[in-house]
């Protein structure tokens, strides 16, 4: 019995991780969180900061929602998500302002935009309201990391091509011409669409068939 239960746990954990990190990736498959993905993938430092801040907010809100899931009045749940998410986002914002002022200035309005991210609302509604705290935190952590690693990969490509640097350290040879457009807004669309094409092909995801085509 204990062994079976353990095996079951393993399966669910594994399924959550595989689905969030690869098969049902929030960015690559769900095309969620676009605002942040396009906005902060220009520099590696920004991507790391948002990745960590986002994951933190997602994990603590998922844990809170999941712990309160039987108490939360169903009709008011979206308002309650918003209250909890915005409180934690304010905390992240204050901590960044106090301890990493330069980063906070570079990220500008994007920290506040974590509140509106569809990934957060999606995971809370879809998962945390129906599962216990442990699985909700696992789900939140893996979704946050999935979002974070995508941001990181995109930002490495964009900072390298657009600014000729990685983490503000020059890595390109002298004589290299920056592809300025890649660092600016249009470049985000080019790089993201190529990234989606590659990852969807590798993960064998076809949103036209599975009906996952949503904005």
């Amino acid at each position: 019995m204990a062994l079976q239960l353990k095996k079951l746990t393993y399966t669910k954990t594994f399924r959550i991780l595989r689905s969030n990190l690869w098969k049902d990736h929030p960015v690559a498959c769900g095309v969620l969180g676009m605002c942040l993905t396009l906005g902060v993938s220009n520099k590696v430092a920004n991507a790391i900061a948002i990745g960590i801040g986002f994951t933190f907010v997602l994990v603590v809100t998922a844990a809170t929602i999941s712990a309160l899931r039987n108490l939360i009045p169903k009709r008011a749940r979206v308002i309650i998500y918003m209250i909890i998410i915005s409180s934690f986002v304010i905390i992240v914002d204050r901590v960044l302002k106090a301890f990493f002022p330069a980063l906070s200035e570079a990220l500008g309005p994007y920290i506040g935009l974590i509140i509106t991210s569809c990934i957060l609302m999606g995971r809370l509604e879809e998962f945390s309201m129906k599962n216990n705290v442990w699985y909700s935190m696992l789900d939140a952590l893996s979704s946050g990391l999935a979002f974070g690693y995508t941001l990181f990969l995109l930002s490495v490509i964009r900072e390298f091509l657009g600014f000729g640097t990685i983490l503000d350290v020059k890595v390109t040879p002298t004589g290299w011409t920056n592809w300025v457009v890649i660092g600016m807004a249009p470049g985000a669309f080019f790089v993201l669409s190529i990234y989606l094409w590659i990852t969807r092909t590798l993960a064998k995801v076809d949103p036209m068939k599975t009906g996952q085509l949503h904005g």
């Binding site: 009045p73 909890i84 409180s87 905390i91 204050r94 901590v95 302002k97 106090a98 500008g108 600016m184």
Partner: protein
């Protein structure tokens, strides 16, 4: 009815608890945030006055070189030779612009302009904050005002070239800098 009451009660209690948490975080971070703001001003004043400093001795260098003068509720950062720097604040095209400007002793000639914060269009108006553009203000004179010219090349010593594709930002900045410098210089008792 009971459901509605329960719902409201739940939201109120949750809201109160989370507000309490935010208050605690705020009281812990507020002094540091204020300190960061102060350091940013000091750093920009030193840059505007052209004084070299290191990350560690910033405050020391500031105290040694800059005399803080308050007149008519305005703050001036005065160098020993009489060069004056002060903060300016106002509206750009899309959002507030905040920075520090330093003037030579004659209170007319610009030494240097620093932009601390702006929200203009990235790549167009946003280039306002780039050193290569701000450099074109150096040694220009408020005689009686600075003019940002758009359709021809700047010739006189109170004319500065505008930014192509950012006429509105240029106009807003011209209004802002003339207004603020006029106000500050008048209050300082010169000009």
């Amino acid at each position: 009815m009971r459901d509605a009451m329960k719902m409201i009660l739940f939201v109120v209690i949750l809201g109160t608890l989370l507000s309490a948490v935010i208050l605690v975080v705020n009281s812990y971070t507020a002094p540091r945030i204020a300190k960061n703001g102060e350091l940013t001003i000091k750093r920009n004043v030193l840059e505007a006055q052209g004084i070299r400093y290191g990350q560690e001795d910033l405050e020391q260098v500031f105290d040694q070189n800059i005399q803080v003068v308050r007149k008519a509720e305005k703050t001036y950062y005065v160098l020993k030779n009489g060069d004056v720097a002060f903060e300016f604040d106002g509206n750009g095209l899309w959002g507030p612009i905040h920075g520090v400007i330093s003037l030579q002793r004659d209170l007319q000639t610009i030494k240097r302009i620093m932009i601390i914060h702006q929200e203009e269009t990235a790549g167009l108006g946003g280039r306002l904050a780039e050193r290569s553009y701000l450099g074109s203000f150096d040694a220009k004179k408020f005689s009686p005002t600075i003019e940002i010219v758009n359709r021809r090349k700047a010739e006189k010593d109170n004319e500065v070239d505008g930014i192509s594709g950012a006429t509105m930002t240029s106009k807003a900045f011209e209004r802002l800098i003339n207004g603020q410098v006029g106000e500050y210089v008048a209050a300082y008792g010169g000009g």
